[in-house]
Symmetry: C2
DNA sequence: CAATTGTTGGGAAACATTGCAACTTTAGGG
DNA sequence: CCCTAAAGTTGCAATGTTTCCCAACAATTG
């Protein structure tokens, strides 16, 4: 196993880690509609703004969203909408597998 | 936020969590080639077989792989190859964003 | 200056990862 | 049949990481 390959898998894992929390997926879905500032998102999702800020910072650190300061606000916007298709695909995959397993279990 | 939507996001997050470790991505890549048993994979990746077993169990629990007993061996096989395209897409996304940010940084 | 918006840090609780040891199951030799 | 070896899984303890809340801080507006 060469180091370059390992590094690539670490990179992929980092992005999946950023997506591995329901709140972060919800935040991304909101950002698909339009840009939002932190306090709007925190209120919408029902969490502390410090928590929202940290989740958004994680998403930003892997390059999925970008921020822009406007006075005292920080507006976040979606940069890589393709990941949301990935998220929908993830749901499809997991549901399909679940159905298959149930089907097999029923058939046995 | 209705509960059903939240549940869907939790489901997606679960699948991403299963993908959020470089060793698990590597295991999936190996399983794309052909079915492998646990001890082969452990040797190939260079980890304890108990660790390999646990990682594989996680991947199985979200329905990405399936197992089949053959004597004393347990052979794992890939069930949802589409997630590997997702993994490659993840890498593409993150690299593209990184390039963009570097480009902007250089231009400023 | 006061109010609003975000970010950052500490501490606690929950969760994830690893290595080791114990255990189960199967195959095969005597 | 009994014993041993090999393959996997599971439990435990140690360590590291995530997540949350709260409080403190920085920055901007009016």
């Amino acid at each position: 196993m060469d180091d370059r390959t390992l590094r690539r898998y670490e990179l992929r894992a980092e992005l999946f880690k950023a997506l591995a929390h329901p709140i972060r997926i919800l935040l991304l879905e909101k950002l698909r509609e339009r840009p939002w500032c932190v306090c709007e998102l925190a209120a919408e999702v029902g969490i502390e703004k410090s928590v929202a800020s940290k989740h958004l910072s994680q998403l930003k650190s892997v390059g999925l969203i970008a921020d822009e300061k406007r006075g005292t606000l920080v507006e976040y916007q979606l940069v890589a909408p393709c990941v949301l298709d990935m998220a929908a695909c993830a749901e499809g995959t997991i549901l399909e597998q679940r159905r298959k397993r149930l089907g097999i279990a029923a058939a046995e």
